[in-house]
Amino acid sequence: ALFVSENENILAIHRKITAAFEPFDYESKNMVDVREIGTIMYSLDCFPTQLDIREFIAEVRGVFMFTLFIHKLTNHDYVNEKLLATPSQLTCLPQMYENEQKGFLKPEELTKLMMEEGEPFTQEEMDEMLTVHTNRKENVIYYDKLINKLTADAPK
């Protein structure tokens, strides 16, 4: 689940989770808003599905206690191995698009893909991705640039 090596003991895991938890614990009550759970889990290098996150949240009401958080994270595997791609695998993806030789996607294409397939993006997520990653002059998204950014400081 969490990317910890065998040598790291429980105290280290504890600290890791605590560090991820803290910035969202605005009132220092060891509680975070459930809407932040996804972010916290991702930042701990877990790859939960949206369903995972919803289920996680469904188990508590409103705010999420730190101890419960640790308990769940250390006892549940939030990585679906089949879907965990390495960066190299990601770069093979464009081949299914007609524009593959040119190495880019038009915003409409990316939008359709992201918002209709898999675990669809919200409009906000889509807007954000497009705003940040679209090449302004040509109004396209260069695929390898995008992938590089996403995987730049990925775990392992």
Partner: protein, 687 residues
Amino acid sequence: MPLRHVPDVPFCCFSAIRAALLIQRWYRQYVARLEMRRRCTWNIFQSIEYAGEQDQIKLYHFFGFLMDHFTPASSERNLISHIFRENEVCRDADWERYFCYKDIEVPDSYCGPHLTFPMTFCGVSKLMEAFKLKQQLHARYVLQILGETWRLLRILPNINHVSVCHTKEITICGDLHGQLEDLLLIFYKNGLPSCEKPYVFNGDFVDRGKNSLEILLILFGFLLVYPNEVHLNRGNHEDHIVNLRYGFTKEVLGKYRVHGKKILKLLQKIFSWLPLATVINHKVLVVHGGISDSTDLDMVARMDRHRYVSVLRPPKAIRPTLNGNKAGSGKDEDASGPAEGRRRRVRSLTNTSAPGQRNNIPRRSLHNLPTGGAQLNCSVEDELKERRRLAGFDQTYREVKTLDSDSDPEFGEPTETHGHEWKQIVNLLWSDPMPQNGCISNEVRGGGCYWGPDVTEEVLGKHNLQLLIRSHECKQDGYEFCHNRRVLTIFSASNYYEVGSNRGYQASRTCRELTLRQRSTRSALRALRQQLFVHKSDLVGAFQEFDPNNTGVISLRHWATATERVLKLGLPWRVLRPQLINRAQHGMVDYQQWIRELSITDIMETMYKNHSNLETIFRIIDTDHSGLISFEEFRQTWKLLSSHLKMEISDKAITDLAQSMDFNKDGSIDINEFMEAFRLVDLSTHA
């Protein structure tokens, strides 16, 4: 070109879904990582720059509180005396002995740099190379350097007077804060100090960064080699009490487990001997913080600056005495004596007008200040004023009656003058400029004042100066002029000053690329939040236009439009949105709550203050800097803190905690282990 989504070719379908899933998953992870980083750095920055500074007040009041509640009968007496008992009054000869490094042997296994004295340029170079390689200088050499530095500083005047001839430049370096890479970068870009390359280092060499000691050693090294060309000004962080809180003490003790305490003690003395200001060519005043309407450079030049080891404690703080024969020794050789207290008038840390006036400072003026980010909401500001009033030292002195008095024969009765002098120093080291005329106390920092352009004119005029160069505040571009270009704030290092033109000076900056950009982003965000807060009623009005049914929420699109309409900054609000709004659900934002959250100092404070205060207090209790305290000390400290903070915590809880912290069961508690587990305690008491 649309994706080929042909139903009777399952492989394509599967690939499309898989592709989407992968990208989505990775993207969400990426965003989360960014968010986390932003959140962390933002919080840290905020808490340091805001809550930290305000917290200084609270720490200061905690001292006051401790002294208020000291009674001879209470069992806490010993503890407090223990805390406040200062160094024995030492003659210089004693200090020489204390500085002695000769007994310390450098083992053969030591692979760091070896130094010879007197210090040479070669020696300093060796030192820098070694630090680049992350080596550590042996304690013997550290003590030698410190000893030599102390001997040199003692003969320097309070105000360095520097003459730079027409063809020369002088480099003025702002806050370094323990960041060795920055210092090395400055040397790389500007050149090393030398006879042809004079430097002024304008304070705040230590704390926050993790190479404070290395920076000091390099600066002291250059000072020893080029005493006429290298000038050091004292900053507000050259203060052992501030160091307890902001990391320098910890750094030294961590790096030098055996000799750390001694090194810290010597540094206390050295800090008190650092000059307070530098004047270049009789025209430019360089000082760390700034000035006040009472700044009198002649008084500053005359005083015994080394009396003021820490400006967080006024010179004649009443000292509870053990057996009445420590002469209520103030800091080191400082005289003290409650007799003086009975005679004395108001001594407060900030530059204040009469108490009545203080309470009438309109909130607006603080909020419009570009510096110090006074985003105080009502209750915090009121609380500050109340505490100021309650724990202002004037009342403390008057109330404490139970103390023995034995004034130090060597220094005579402390006088009114010492209070004035002390205030001069506080103002020099802690003040910030403000755009409006006047001079008011600096509530945000808890020390010094805010001074206006009229004060600049007056003080510069009085002393026939043309320009004031100071640091102490983070500036987005690394530097900023104000007060009709009469005041220059340098935060990043390296402005150089060139004599020659009619105006007599020219300043320009060099780049500290990466750190500067980091600082810029943070500073920019901070400035932005300030702007948002300052315009909050206009913003709420604009939001309400999009919310005719008064639901309290509006869409993000409307939020962006309204904000731009009010602020007219032409910013990409969409992109900034994640850094400005914490919670947006389904594309809607609760704008009332958002506005409330802009005045977040309460929350930030709560988040970090207990941590730092507790650690600082622990380190104070641990007077021998051993890193360990006894159960009893632990228990008493915790009780004091909890009553000060009005927390409820039972004796049993404290005892249980103490015992659980004592891993090796030897009856003492390691401070570091305790701090790690602090959060767990909080959870159980609030459960």
